[in-house]
Symmetry: C2
Subunit: 104 residues, 2 copies
């Protein structure tokens, strides 16, 4: 089987400033379980950029199928149920391919 | 010393489609040397999102000082000299803090 190219998912949320802590809590649950419970999830970083209540998820999966499996998980379901009232907007999710898998 | 929060750098380039390969080559050099030669550089991912000639760098450093040291390196200098004719635009670099360092 050809070596797969790791599948990257970048999500971004504009979070209500007063709900940032609550959002980070449900995000941390999703991130921790994704990496711990999903063999195909290599990385799930939760990043707060400078200057405000924005949160970026940087996720890496073995391939697209591993991400599709992620979409069926209970921890993602928990996150999906929890986050809507905590945010002002969710930016379009970006998908991509990791060009240098051995880089970190 | 307080445990530092890993410092994240996200850069994005709109690359001339016909120069994407050349751009990825100089990006790979910078990425590989950053991780190999800089103790403070934990990760330097080169990602090509779906749909076109855009390249995202997702970089993690031990802290801000480690990133400042990165700015003085010969491999970044090589990249800075090589990439301008290969791109259409560079988006503003985003800095942030990694909230869950143990996630990957």
């Amino acid at each position: 089987m050809a070596e797969s190219t790791p599948f990257v998912v970048i999500a971004e949320f504009r979070v209500k400033p007063e709900r940032l802590d609550a959002f980070l809590e449900v995000a941390a649950d999703d991130a921790a379980h994704s990496v711990a419970d999903e063999p195909g999830c290599w990385r799930f970083d939760v990043v707060v950029p400078d200057g405000g209540a924005t949160v970026i998820f940087y996720e890496i999966y073995h391939d697209r199928a591993a991400f599709d499996a992620h979409l069926l998980t209970p921890h993602l379901q928990r996150f999906r149920e929890a986050f809507p009232p905590l945010i002002e907007a969710e930016l379009p999710v970006r998908f991509g391919l990791l060009q240098n898998p051995a880089s970190g």
